[in-house]
Symmetry: C2
Subunit: 461 residues, 2 copies
């Protein structure tokens, strides 16, 4: 019996996991493997991952050895790539291959695609030919395509079957489809012809034909469809699963809503990293040195771009020497231009998500942002003119600052709108259009405009 | 027959919707209502929303009149709040109430909660007492709680029933549960006792007891649980639905994965708006004047904060007058501090999503960001010292700028980390911790540090 020290502020979930972990430790220590199997079978695979993470290194090794292959496969499917790699390392090649044969194709593909090619080939070469050739085919689809996401855990039936015949067929293939709510109907050429739910079948008479029960209007994804588009389909139609077909409309696999949830979350992480100009691979658990390595190159690039702002100020050194007060408004003008740019960027980044833009939408957006920029520019420009006049007692200076702010706010709004649109148009990695880049570019533009206008009217000051 | 002008670059989906719209127009024009009903019944509710949006105003009125109440309810459930309000306006109170009685509680609650209280009361007063009292109860749960999201479309059965008894019970209540894959098992006091899937029932023998079939370890949400927490549960366990219970563990409703998808997307939108310092209510379709109204107040606030930076420069006017070159590095130092702050902010904003932080996690994060700040500060500080020395030919100036950058990068990283954490700790609306605010605050801090250090070493320059 392990006595765990009472932890402060344990949530009910933490208490539950602690109990399970203790029970696991007890069963493994007493070598009570029959009871251990029964205990593990009753748990959700997510609970198994929680226990695995909490166990001492010694126990967790035993845990992996004693779990049944199928339980292990279900647990590993729920884990991140790094954890999966660690476990397969610990299991050794033979058991790893056994576990992989039990895993869902979608999860296994996701694991294999991130491995170094040599390691991937090694694992594939150990597997049964039928499994490895399926996996090779899946890995051949473009990254982030529907084909990469497909699961093989679906059941297809024939439209000419009666409900009774279909039921028998389903019972035979039951083990492989325990999480799916739909049955897909295919014709002789395995082309997708319709869909019925377990629920429909449950309420049908034995002699009814599947062809009469099924819904014929089916929404499907093609293997090469972008994953974001597939996610949009599932979201719009509120589907639990989406069938995926090849060029000849043959059913190849299904995408399930839980995989889509993961994608939606990771796309959102990407967008937020984009706004922050960091890497989406940094989270609470990233080590400091890794975080530095991911952030620093970007910051050094921005440092050099930031020096361009400096050389603009340098270029206008004479103007600045004559009116030092111009420097007082530099941070505000540069900052405001960056702010309005970031606001526009946020709208565009989010709007680009999973949407194909046509020229009409783009022009409408640019026109709207132009109007927004002008209205915001006039409002803030007038306000700062009044403030600068009262602060510095100089109407011309106030006017110069107001006109500069008007101009830079319009430019900043358009930069924040057009740069991400252009990058997405030319399929450049949109991570380049990050918030800090927009801010830094807007710094340069705004200082140039500001000092340009100021030196033009220098004689009047 | 309507001849639609061929549109450029129509996607296959647009073509499909155009065909459906044309067919709808034809059927309504010929007053072929029997065929219209059959046609509409075959379509997915999402397709109906698409048709409705494409129809001419005249046709769309007929469309609403001719759709059957249940079809109308399914279609309205798929729409946004504004569209729903427009349709109920068009339907008039009597038909609206009929439609509402058919709608899922979760969708109806979401619609009602955004209405002005007087309008909401009016609609509720027209409804059957049983429906309106259920809705009032749901509306009584805290905003963004699991209780607000609950659907009433679930079936509960008893553990003491045999499979056959349960099946008969389910057939009787079938109409109300067509989208759910699980059946919830309750005891005499309606307390949640277990869960079985249609799939389990489908493969069971008639005489088996539900109590023997059901899974007893059930994950559930409480009515007052935050919606993000419920979303995390569904995501982690890859559930299709999550039962919601009250304080006495009685089953009150279920939350389905499609509602969770919507929440995950809207939480991500909120985070991105936060990073951009705008309002999450601005999208591609927002009118310019509305976008201005939502962005301007925030920008004006930032303008005033930006002027504080100006007064810092003003305060150090003497220093700046003596060494104008200090102004060259102002934009870079302020910019870099903002950039590192925004990177940290992105990590924190994303990490706070649906996670309860304990002190250990927070300290670990702050320590990590401090290390990151120091390493980044030393790297960038050394680099800029060398650059400044070669550019301005002055080692002391180079040193001042390097040390300033080191200090401001550390401060900027910590600000970007701690401000959102503090706000979340004190439950202040985290929208306040937006990217532009962090950037603007970091402007002030960095200029203060920069000029502070510079005037300290003024004699050496």
């Amino acid at each position: 019996m392990v006595h765990m020290p009472p932890k402060q502020q344990q949530t009910s979930e933490e208490r539950y996991v602690a109990q399970l972990t203790e029970e696991t430790h007890r069963l493994l220590e007493h070598q009570d493997f029959t009871e251990f199997h029964a205990f593990a079978r009753d748990l959700h695979p997510y609970d198994l991952t929680q226990i695995y993470r909490e166990l001492d290194p010694e126990d967790s090794g035993h845990f992996l050895i004693r779990l049944q292959t199928e339980q292990l496969a279900d647990m590993i499917e729920m884990m991140s790539g790094q954890e999966q790699a660690d476990i397969f390392q610990a299991l050794g090649p033979d058991r790893s291959v056994d576990v992989m044969e039990q895993m869902d194709d979608a999860d296994l593909t996701r694991f294999l695609q991130d491995l170094p090619p040599a390691k991937r080939e090694e694992l594939l070469s150990y597997m049964h030919l039928s499994s490895s050739s399926t996996l090779r085919k899946l890995l051949g689809y473009p990254p982030e395509s529907a084909g990469r996401l497909m699961s093989d855990r679906f059941i297809s039936i024939s439209a000419e079957d009666t409900v009774q015949e279909a039921t028998e067929h389903i019972r035979r293939s039951a083990a492989m489809s325990d999480t799916i709510s739909y049955l897909y109907v295919v014709d002789q050429e395995r082309r997708l012809a319709g869909v019925v739910s377990y629920h429909d079948l449950f309420f049908a008479e034995d002699h009814q034909l599947i062809g009469d029960l099924m819904k014929k209007r089916i929404v499907s994804a093609s293997v090469t469809m972008d994953q974001e588009e597939a996610a949009q389909l599932i979201q719009r139609y509120e589907f639990l699963a989406l069938p995926v077909v090849d060029e000849e409309s043959r059913l190849c696999g299904i995408i399930t809503v839980d995989d889509i949830l993961d994608i939606v979350v990771s796309e959102a992480d990407e967008d937020i990293a984009k706004m922050g100009g960091g890497s989406k691979d940094i989270d609470f658990d990233t080590k400091a040195i890794v975080a530095v390595r991911r952030r620093l190159p970007w910051l050094i690039l921005l440092l050099f771009i930031g020096l361009i702002s400096g050389s603009i100020v340098n270029f206008f050194e004479n103007t600045l020497n004559q009116i030092v007060a111009l420097a007082f408004f530099m941070p505000m003008i540069a900052g405001m231009t960056g702010n309005t740019g970031t606001q526009s960027l946020a709208v565009v980044v989010r709007g680009l998500n999973g949407r194909k833009l046509n020229a009409k939408t783009v022009w409408k957006l640019i026109r709207r942002e132009l109007i927004v920029g002008i209205v915001i520019g006039i409002s803030c420009g007038l306000l700062i003119t009044v403030i600068a006049y009262f602060w510095q007692g100089n109407l011309v200076l106030g006017g110069i600052i107001g006109v500069s702010l008007l101009a830079t706010l319009i430019i900043g709004t358009l930069t924040g709108t057009c740069i991400p649109l252009l990058l997405s148009r030319f399929k450049v990695d949109p991570a380049v259009a990050s918030g800090p880049l927009i801010t830094t570019l807007n710094d340069i533009l705004s200082l140039f405009i500001y000092f340009g206008i100021a030196s033009r009217f220098l004689g009047m000051l």
